[in-house]
Point group: D2
Chain length 134, copies 4
């Protein structure tokens, strides 16, 4: 099962070529992860980051077509693996039928001092259910 949300390309996202500047896609991806945690996993990031954190340990993204100001992007995120403290997901963004980017990434659940920390069981259960229903 995947999580889907839409983000409109804004003036602030665009570079002098009039297309999304690639670091702005990573801000969008972070928003999508936040929304997924709040909506599907029941753990809003503003709760999670009070005590702990979930930084991105690695990410790879391929930008297959440029996005223009005014485009509405449909992001789809699906978890693919949950380890003790790690969590892999894959993500795509489309505008209408055109793929604009595809990415895979790993989040790590950490304590404030930076040590990895097992995911709460409730998160593990929901992510596992999403992976199982894929």
């Amino acid at each position: 099962m995947s999580f889907t949300t839409e983000i409109e390309v804004r003036f602030k996202h665009c570079d002098p070529a009039g297309i999304v500047f690639f670091p702005r896609y990573f801000e969008m991806i972070n928003d999508v992860v936040e929304d997924w945690f709040a909506t599907d996993l029941g753990l809003p990031f503003h709760e999670l980051v009070k005590e702990n954190g979930a930084p991105t340990a690695q990410i790879q993204a391929t930008f297959t077509a440029p996005s223009l100001h005014g485009d509405v992007l449909t992001f789809r995120l699906a978890p693919t693996r949950i380890g003790n403290a790690s969590l892999d997901y894959e993500l795509t963004a489309h505008c209408r039928d055109e793929l604009r980017l595809s990415a895979t990434a790993t989040l790590v659940h950490v304590a404030r001092l930076g040590r990895s920390l097992a995911w709460p069981q409730a998160i593990r259960d929901r992510v596992s259910a999403q992976i199982a229903s894929a």
Copy 2:
């Protein structure tokens, strides 16, 4: 041969955990690529983007340790391959002896309409020389 430059971690780069928010690393990486073009390749981005562009087609990054406000990061970029319109590089950032991130990416030289465009011969020559001297 690699290109080296330093970037200090600023307040603006840091998140509520007090560490660099990962999309800000991609802004830093873009600055490093700009500096490399201006310094080693003789083609400042503000010249390059007047007519054409060099968007990032794909990038993958691994964040091996967090960076704190005030850290001075040493970025090292080395080209690894130049195709007709593509250009691969690898990049690392260290703080003192600690690796903070490693990345590989592909730039594509494009005309304003988005079609790929062969790199100018002067760029090709300089990048090839850097690769050869690695």
Copy 3:
């Protein structure tokens, strides 16, 4: 008559103190102006900026209370004056009943070469109607 929209404070907006970093408020304000043009003035920014522009000529903002990650901010924008090529507005953001920021700003309609350009009559009419109904 004023335009109202909501923006949720995201992780990306917040600084190491856990509150919105003030330059991010200006990105939010730009989004609000974009939404106002699209919704109330019938001129989406991605249309407007194809030929011309509407840069901010001056802005002043007072931040009366900090905003936290997870807060939902209600922005209210009202135009106060439309000149030949200029447009003044005032804006507030509240979280529940608490005022977080108030701002006033001036946009200028410009041609691509930077010269000021009279607002289209349709824009002038709608803004004037909003001012009149305040």
Copy 4:
């Protein structure tokens, strides 16, 4: 006495019109304030924000001419008043002889809980000396 530093306009600062997007100027201004604290006041922001903070309480900026990718901006900051916990400054940015922006702002020294906090005497002394020598 004023503090002076240079910032080059980067690709990341520029919008689809090819000029600096105004919220990016506020990121630059924050960098200038950071540099001023570190260089002239002996209190790097990464030290200051460990325990306390210095958020911007109000700012007003006038953008008198657009800045282009590749421009080198000379920022000049001068304190104008130091209160118990507040600090006013004025700032300009020029490119060669052309004024690009002028701003005035107020910082407030706060404890982590958000209450205002008297500036340390060493800061007060240095700022007062700068104001006196203006």
